[in-house]
C-alpha cells in the first residue's frame, strides 16, 4: 500500500501527540495523583503506538509500547510518579521526536534502537515487579482468565515478539486444522539454581500439549542459560488455555506463567488498535483543534469566509471599473477606484490574519525545557507564561523560538541563584521566570523576566573598557541603558569571563541579530539583586507594510510608517549644535538630526534651503530626526529581500518594487538611529 499519502498526516499528528504528552507529563509531575492526566497520557501514547505500527515504524512502536507498559503500571498504582521516572519518560519523548525528525528527513525511522532508554523502561518495570510480586501473584490467574485487562502487559513478553513470515504461514496452516496459537511467558523463581534444567522440564511439559513454533530467546540461548528469569514460547495446540496454565504453574521454581491466545499476526492486532484509536480520536478532536502543526496552518473557517467575501467584492468592483472605462464619467470612475482601494486594504488585512498564528506554538515547548533545566541545574524554577494567544506572523513564529530559548536559558542558568543563595537573600527558594507576550499597537512585545541576581552595570562598563569597546571618557557619561546595550555587542559575546561577572553576554549578539532580521529590536533593563528583563518588540506582519516614500536627490526610499512619530518642517536657523552634532528642540525634547543624504552617500542637492523636512522616527523610546529632501507620500509596500548576496548590509532593511517597476530601498530605522 502506498503509505506516502498518509505520511504527512502521520508526521503532523505524531508531533501533536508528542506535544500533548510533553504538556500532560509536566502537569502530571505537579499533580501525580491526577488520574485524568494519567489516562490522557496513556491514551495518547497508545494512539501513537497504533499509528507508528500502522506506518511500519517498528522501533517507534516498540518504544511506545514499552512506555505504555510503564504507564499502565502507574495507572494501576504499582509505580509512583517520581521526577526520575518522568525523566525517563521525557527521554522517550525526545527519542520519539528524533525518530519523527528522521522520518521527515529520510522517510525512514533510522537505525537507532534507543536501547538505553528501553533498558531503563524495562528496569523500572523490573523494580516494580520484584517489589510487588506477592501482591500480584494472587491476581494473576484471574486476570489472565478474563483476558481483557492491560495489567501485566509488560510481563506478557510474548505479546511483544515479532513472528517471521514463515512462522506466520505455519500458524495459518495450523489454524485451519483448528489449532490455536498460544503465547506463553514463564517467569522462573529467583531462587532457581539450574535455569537450563528447569526450562528443559518446562519445555517437555509444553511439548506434551502441542507444538512449539518459536521461543524467545532461542532454544540454544535457553540451554546456555543466556536469559534472565523469563522466556517466552509460542505454542500451537488444541488444548484449553487453562489447561496449559495449570500444567505449567505446577512445576516448581516457576514464579509466574502468563498465557494468551493469540488471534493471528500483527495485521489484526494493529487493526484492533486502530479501531480503538478512531474511537478515541473523537474525544481528542476538541483538543486537536487548538494545537497546530508546524508547517501547515489550520485556518479558522470564519477567517477564510471573510477572505472569500472580500475577493468576490473585489471582482464586482473590478467589473464596475471595466464598464466605466468606456464613457468619460470621471466621478464614477474615481469612486470605483477609491472603493477598490478600500477593498484591497481589507483584503490584505484578512489575508494577513490568515498568516497569523498564536505564539503558543513556540511557547508550549518551554515548560518542558525549563523543567529539564531546573533538574539539570539543581535549581527550583517556576515558569510563568502569559499571553500565549498573542498572534504573530508565521514567518516570525518560525524564527523567534531560538532567541527565546537563548534568553530563557540565560535566565535559568546564570541569572537565577541556587535555592540556598536565594534563601539567604530573603527570596523565595523557587526562582521565577516570566515569559509574557502581548500586542502593543502595531507590534508584539515578548518579555523574558527573571527575579535573579540582576546585572552589574559597573562590571559591564569595566569589561567594555578592557575590551576597548568604549573610551574612558564616553564610559563615564554613558547612561545605564547605553551600558546595557553593550551586552549585545558582538565582541562582548566572545568573552567567556562575562558569565562569572553577571551571567550575561554569551551569544546575546546572536539574539539581537536574529531579532533585527525579523524587523524587531531588543532592550534590557536590570536591577541588581532583583532581576532583569529583556523586552523584544516585533512587527505584527512582515510581508506588506505601510511606508512613507521620500526623495533624496533623485533617489527614492521607503521609511516604515510604524517607526515614524511625526513629520516636521524645521527652519534651518533653529538647528543647534552639540559637540558639532546637529540637534533640534521639539516640544521640549532634544532630538539629534541625521542627514540621510550624507549617511547614505547620496549626491548633494545644490539648493540652499531655509526650511528642511525632518521625519521624526522612534526606536524604543529614543527619537531621531531624519533629514530628507522631499516627501512623496504614504504607500503600501511589499517587502522584498535584497537577496543572499547583500543581506549583511546595514541601514537597508530590504527593497520594494514601485508601481512603475522601479526598485526602492527600505530604510532600516533601527540601525540608522
Amino acid at each position: 500500500m502506498d503509505m506516502n499519502q498518509y505520511m504527512e498526516i502521520f508526521i503532523e499528528e505524531s508531533k501533536e501527540h508528542l506535544q500533548i504528552l510533553n504538556e500532560t507529563l509536566l502537569e502530571l509531575e505537579n499533580s501525580p495523583e491526577n488520574m485524568e492526566l494519567l489516562n490522557e497520557v496513556f491514551r495518547v501514547s497508545h494512539t501513537l503506538k497504533g499509528m507508528s505500527a500502522t506506518m511500519g515504524f517498528n522501533k517507534m512502536k516498540n518504544l511506545t509500547h514499552n512506555m505504555e507498559n510503564v504507564l499502565s503500571e502507574i495507572r494501576n498504582g504499582k509505580i509512583a510518579v517520581t521526577s526520575n521516572l518522568l525523566d525517563v519518560l521525557f527521554k522517550c519523548l525526545d527519542a520519539l521526536e528524533v525518530y519523527i525528525d528522521e522520518i521527515i528527513k529520510t522517510n525512514s525511522e533510522g537505525e537507532n534502537e534507543n536501547e538505553p532508554i528501553m533498558k531503563e523502561l524495562i528496569s523500572i518495570l523490573a523494580d516494580e515487579s520484584s517489589s510487588s510480586i506477592k501482591a500480584e501473584k494472587d491476581s494473576v490467574v484471574e486476570q489472565s482468565e478474563t483476558n481483557e485487562e492491560k495489567l501485566d502487559l509488560d510481563k506478557r513478553l510474548h505479546l511483544n515478539i515479532e513472528l517471521a513470515s514463515f512462522e506466520i504461514n505455519a500458524i495459518r496452516e495450523a489454524k485451519e486444522k483448528d489449532y490455536k496459537l498460544y503465547g506463553i511467558t514463564v517467569v522462573l523463581s529467583e531462587k532457581c539454581v539450574l535455569k537450563s534444567a528447569r526450562s528443559f522440564v518446562i519445555f517437555n511439559n509444553i511439548e506434551e500439549l502441542g507444538e512449539i513454533i518459536k521461543t524467545n530467546p532461542d532454544v540454544q540461548s535457553i540451554e546456555d542459560e543466556k536469559f534472565d528469569l523469563t522466556f517466552s514460547v509460542f505454542l500451537l495446540s488444541m488444548v484449553d488455555i487453562n489447561k496449559i496454565k495449570k500444567s505449567l504453574s505446577n512445576i516448581s521454581e516457576v514464579d509466574e506463567v502468563f498465557v494468551d491466545e493469540i488471534l493471528i499476526k500483527d495485521q489484526e492486532i494493529i487493526q484492533e488498535v486502530t479501531n480503538k484509536e478512531t474511537n478515541e480520536k473523537v474525544k481528542e478532536e476538541k483538543e486537536d483543534n487548538k494545537k497546530k502543526a508546524t508547517k501547515t496552518v489550520r485556518v479558522d473557517i470564519d477567517r477564510l469566509d471573510t477572505l472569500m467575501n472580500l475577493v468576490s467584492e473585489l471582482i464586482i468592483v473590478k467589473n464596475g471599473l471595466e464598464s466605466t472605462q468606456g464613457n468619460n464619467d470621471n466621478g464614477n470612475y474615481n469612486e470605483s477606484i477609491e472603493y477598490l482601494e478600500r477593498i484591497t486594504t481589507s483584503l490584505h488585512d484578512a489575508v494577513m490574519k490568515v498568516r497569523m498564528v498564536p505564539v503558543e506554538q513556540v511557547f508550549n515547548r518551554f515548560p518542558r525545557m525549563i523543567r529539564d533545566l531546573s533538574r539539570k541545574l539543581d535549581k527550583e524554577i517556576i515558569l510563568h507564561m502569559t499571553g500565549k494567544e498573542t498572534e504573530l506572523d508565521r514567518t516570525v513564529i518560525d524564527e523567534i523560538g531560538e532567541p527565546l530559548i537563548h534568553l530563557l536559558r540565560n535566565a535559568a542558568d546564570h541569572a537565577l541563584e541556587i535555592p540556598k543563595e536565594r534563601a539567604s537573600k530573603g527570596k523565595t527558594k523557587e526562582g521565577n521566570i516570566f515569559l509574557r507576550a502581548y500586542q502593543d499597537g502595531n507590534s508584539v512585545v515578548i518579555e523574558v523576566q527573571d527575579d535573579g541576581r540582576g546585572i552589574d552595570v559597573e562590571k559591564i562598563k569595566k569589561k567594555a573598557l578592557e575590551k576597548g569597546l568604549v573610551t574612558k571618557e564616553s564610559a563615564e557619561n554613558m547612561s545605564k541603558k547605553n551600558i546595557l546595550e553593550l551586552l549585545f555587542a558582538p565582541s562582548f559575546s566572545t568573552a567567556e569571563e562575562i558569565t562569572d561577572v553577571s551571567g550575561r553576554g554569551v551569544g546575546l549578539d546572536v539574539v539581537k541579530t536574529k531579532i533585527q532580521i525579523l524587523g524587531g529590536h531588543i532592550e534590557t533593563d536590570t536591577e541588581i539583586g532583583k532581576g532583569s528583563i529583556f523586552t523584544i518588540r516585533l512587527p505584527l506582519t512582515l510581508a506588506i507594510i505601510q511606508a512613507l516614500m521620500i526623495n533624496l536627490n533623485n533617489e527614492k526610499y521607503a521609511i516604515p510608517l510604524n517607526t515614524i512619530q511625526t513629520i516636521e518642517d524645521i527652519e534651518v536657523s533653529s538647528i543647534k549644535l552639540i559637540q558639532n552634532k546637529p540637534m533640534i528642540v521639539l516640544r521640549d525634547k532634544v532630538i539629534p538630526l541625521i542627514k540621510l543624504g550624507k549617511v547614505l552617500d547620496v549626491e548633494k542637492e545644490d539648493k540652499i534651503k531655509e526650511h528642511i523636512t525632518v521625519v521624526i522616527v522612534k526606536k524604543g523610546d529614543k527619537l531621531a530626526g531624519l533629514v530628507v529632501d522631499s516627501l512623496i507620500g504614504q504607500q503600501e509596500i511589499v517587502i522584498k529581500s535584497l537577496g543572499t548576496y547583500l543581506r549583511k548590509l546595514k541601514m537597508i532593511a530590504g527593497a520594494t518594487i514601485l508601481g512603475d517597476g522601479e526598485v526602492a530601498l527600505i530604510l532600516d530605522v533601527n540601525s540608522l538611529v
Binding site: V602, K640, G643, L646, I652, I657, G661, E662
Partner: protein, 146 residues
C-alpha cells in the same frame, strides 16, 4: 569526474569586457537582459552597481569592470546584464557585449596559474583557445563567493 576526455566540449557564453574576451559557463547562466534602471544601494561594496527588478525579484548587479579594476564605467547600447546563479547566490553581471555561444574542448583550457602568476586567479579559471583567439574563462564561484 573521470571522463574528462580531451574531446568533451563545454558551452560558454562569449562576452566582451574592455576589449577582452571572457567565457562564462552556460550552465550557470539563468538569463541575459538589457540594462534598465539600476537602483544604487548605499554602503554596498563598490563593485555592486545596485539592484534591479527582474520579474518581481530583487537582484544585485555586479559591475565587472570595477571588479576587474578597470577605472572607467561605461555602459553602451550593447551592454547586457548576465544573470547567473552560483549556489544560493543569484546575481547579475554587467558586460560590455554578449557575442555568441561557443564550444571549447575541456582539454584545451589551460589553467590560469600555468599561464601567468601575475593575474589575480580567484576570478579566473583558465584560458581557452578558439579560432586563433584566446578566451579567458571566468570562475563564477570565485567571482561571487570568493
Amino acid at each position: 569526474m573521470d571522463n574528462k576526455g580531451n574531446d568533451e566540449n563545454k558551452q560558454y557564453i562569449l562576452v566582451k569586457v574592455n576589449e577582452e574576451q571572457y567565457g562564462i559557463d552556460i550552465q550557470q547562466v539563468e538569463n541575459i537582459i538589457k540594462i534598465d534602471r539600476i537602483t544604487r544601494v548605499p554602503k554596498a561594496p563598490e563593485f555592486i552597481k545596485g539592484v534591479i527588478n527582474l520579474r518581481g525579484e530583487i537582484i544585485p548587479v555586479m559591475n565587472l569592470r570595477m571588479k576587474f579594476g578597470i577605472e572607467e564605467d561605461i555602459t553602451t547600447a550593447d551592454s547586457r546584464i548576465i544573470i547567473v546563479k552560483v549556489e544560493e547566490y543569484e546575481i547579475g553581471i554587467i558586460v560590455d557585449q554578449v557575442k555568441e555561444v561557443i564550444q571549447i574542448p575541456t582539454g584545451s583550457i589551460e589553467d590560469i596559474k600555468d599561464v601567468t602568476c601575475e593575474i589575480n586567479s580567484t576570478y579566473l579559471q583558465g584560458v581557452g583557445k578558439v579560432n586563433q583567439d584566446i578566451v579567458t574563462i571566468i570562475n563564477l564561484h570565485g567571482l561571487i563567493i570568493q
